[in-house]
Symmetry: C2
Amino acid sequence: MIEAALYLIPVQLSDVELTTILPTINTHIVRDIKHFIVENVRSARRFLKKCDRNIDIDSLTFYELNRHTKESEIPSMLSPLINGEPVGVISEAGCPAVADPGADVVAIAQSKGLKVKPLVGPSSILMGLMGSGFNGQSFAFLGYLPIDSTERARKFKEMERRIMHEDQTQIFIETPYRNNALAAELCKIMPQHIKLCIATDITGEKESIVTRGVKQWQGKLPELHKVPTIFLLYK
Amino acid sequence: MIEAALYLIPVQLSDVELTTILPTINTHIVRDIKHFIVENVRSARRFLKKCDRNIDIDSLTFYELNRHTKESEIPSMLSPLINGEPVGVISEAGCPAVADPGADVVAIAQSKGLKVKPLVGPSSILMGLMGSGFNGQSFAFLGYLPIDSTERARKFKEMERRIMHEDQTQIFIETPYRNNALAAELCKIMPQHIKLCIATDITGEKESIVTRGVKQWQGKLPELHKVPTIFLLYK
């Protein structure tokens, strides 16, 4: 039996065999957990079935944690752990608590002195950074860029400044149906000494991680509509 | 046979079974590679033997890439890949090209239009972030802090500003024999609304990821001397 802790369980980014993206111990740990805090119950069930098709899903308890969850509902999700039982956190894709709502429940676990155990798994941010060739000794992930055009322009300027003056790689994402528009915008707005890495479908069949100068990309941008994509900028 | 690409191969952070921290496919991929760009030949050989004890180490070619390597020597390390053979990159711990010298060779591969393929593995930066409960939608890794006291004080101020005004988690490391001094310094310098997460020996037997207010840590800091540690700050 595994020890009582809040296990942060990464899931696949794309539809691949789990052995290609998760250590085998993760599936053993999952089998020992009866309580799960999940971003989406349906995708979590599907993931658990993929870990072990003999798993008895109906014997498990799921607590949904996403932008619809009230903050006041979160602490009670940790009751099983307080009573000595392991609890798992599963997000929709990638690593819980990184670019997703899981961080709230981890913060509460920390404030209560509960043990937290992250497991190894795929992160498109980290894998995009590895593959970009950009500075991995200093980098920032900014999440989504602002939509408001004034704020957005200011953000682009600030990113450029941090690349040039702090040697810091800038990493960000966009709502998937606006990926094409963002890529075109970056090529237009960024000066020619800036490089853009477009990392799409990481771990998937059509994975592509390509770094080019912003001006080299012009007219040669790949089709990114609704494809999971990470954007990285550096010099 | 695997396709010709520059494979970025993560290694263990601590002395554990590889099945606990790497997907099994990684060891299959490793067996198909004859050319490796490595931070340290000895630790790379040890890792490869651990992947597969039947591996014929003497049939492999190793190119050393670390701070002693001249920049002019790097491009030739990619010759096998240009000739259609897969090449692996292995650093001393964790993920190649993140907080280590591998990024240079990835940048050259990208500039030559060669295919780059990051594999999944443990990253203490990412796992520390997951376990901290801090903001995972906006975070920065800063590498080592400046040693000069004026620059260092400025860096602390800047970190505090980015936490408070940009909601950005700040992540950094210290030379392992100065970990204790840094932890004490943070507790003393940072205002009480700042939280510090100390993540030590990640994936190892003594793994501990604990978040407390900086003032709560005072007088209760763990022994960090020469223990691999990631420091994270947020509010």
